[in-house]
Symmetry: C2
Subunit: 237 residues, 2 copies
């Protein structure tokens, strides 16, 4: 590849990134369905004909945003995990990687969350595969923390059993609870506000790790004391 | 009010609820903007003219869904809190109330989360006020748990200070982290699956309460060990 071709590619990539970034912002503001290519043309200053030089359709823009996000966050995670073997340190890296990435890309985060179903066919399948891969990675990191915690409790207590109240939190619930507390930030967090990204990471990490590793009795639910059950809003009026 | 007028009102309310419930399901499936009154007419079997007897516009339907949800969940919460004064028990009630309500109304939950910005003017302001009221209530319940925990730690440790690592989790982060882990369930939880609503409530309660009340050192972030910071997806390529 000659230097000129490289420079052209780079200019092309830069322009595409500008278009994707602006599209993510507009999709986040007014939803994918309410956004037209004309809106994107207006926001980027790129003509309609110019836009179609970079993507075949509005759907391809949405796909590129989603694919790029999952690709980048997963790639950075793998790079950072390589040098660390301690399970708790690996979980910290996962949380830090996800939050620091999405705190800097909140429009993209909202688009990932709200427009997951707006892609169809192969594009949808491709992004879903990436997302499953990322979720599996998180779940494995969380499982390993749990296994290490159980291992460090050996030898077992005198009666040979964990106390009933000391049961660990379900790994599936823990995985999605962690994604929930991290992904919800686009609803409230302002990266330019008084809580810095590193403070956000610190607080979420402590909240999740303590909760996940704790066996404290105060935190157990007394059976029968709660009114858990299905409460259908419409039929209860 | 005569018995006949009452019966008519009730029939009216039942029909309106049927329309709102079907609308929430369609808005959740294909987004508010992509849904037409014709879609709602088709799903409910109510003619277009009939629909306009129950609401002035599609926007009013969206408003009624959101207003009804926040109204009901807040009303049930206040009723259940009346008989309880212990801060931890009150937090359990809050979590149970929110999750059991929304596990039974997941389409409504998705609409509340995705279509908050689709209302304009007074309707938007009205729902936002409800939402702020509900968030303030949650924050107060969480603060009271923290205050009770601090009070129970008196007298202070020998050196008169809490250890640096023993600092509590920020109340704002804790409040939104709890909403995040609860509200995210519409992305993964199946109320008809093997994890019952009461098991979901139990796991989320233990995860949050242990995390929030714990002062365990393993869960603190060692300063300087993390790479927290802003990582802009597009400019880092």
């Amino acid at each position: 590849m000659t230097a000129t071709v490289k420079a052209d590619l780079s200019r092309y990539d830069q322009k595409l990134e500008l278009i994707l970034r602006a599209s993510a912002r507009i999709f986040a503001e007014k939803s994918y369905h309410s956004t037209s290519m004309r809106d994107i043309s207006r926001a980027t200053g790129v003509s309609l004909a110019g836009l179609y030089h970079y993507c075949k359709s509005k759907e391809e823009l949405l796909f590129l945003i989603q694919d790029h996000c999952f690709g980048r966050v997963l790639q950075r995670l793998e790079e950072r995990l390589q040098s660390e073997s301690d399970p708790i340190a690996r979980l910290r890296i996962f949380i830090d990687n996800h939050l620091s990435f999405f705190a800097a890309n909140m429009a993209e985060m909202k688009v990932l969350s709200h427009e997951a179903e707006s892609l169809g066919g192969d594009l949808h399948e491709h992004v879903s595969t990436r997302k499953r891969q990322y979720t599996r990675r998180a779940r494995k990191i969380i499982s390993e923390v749990q296994q290490a915690a159980v291992a460090s409790q050996h030898p077992p207590r005198r009666n040979g059993q964990l106390k009933k109240n000391a049961r660990p939190v379900d790994t599936t619930v823990a995985t999605y609870a962690l994604f929930g507390m991290m992904n919800w930030i686009y609803n409230w967090y302002d990266p330019r506000g008084k809580l810095s990204v590193s403070q956000l990471v610190d607080n979420i990490t402590r909240l999740f790790l303590s909760g996940f590793l704790s066996r404290a009795e105060h935190a157990t639910v007394q059976e029968g004391s709660e009114q858990a059950g299905m409460v259908n809003i419409w039929r209860s009026a």
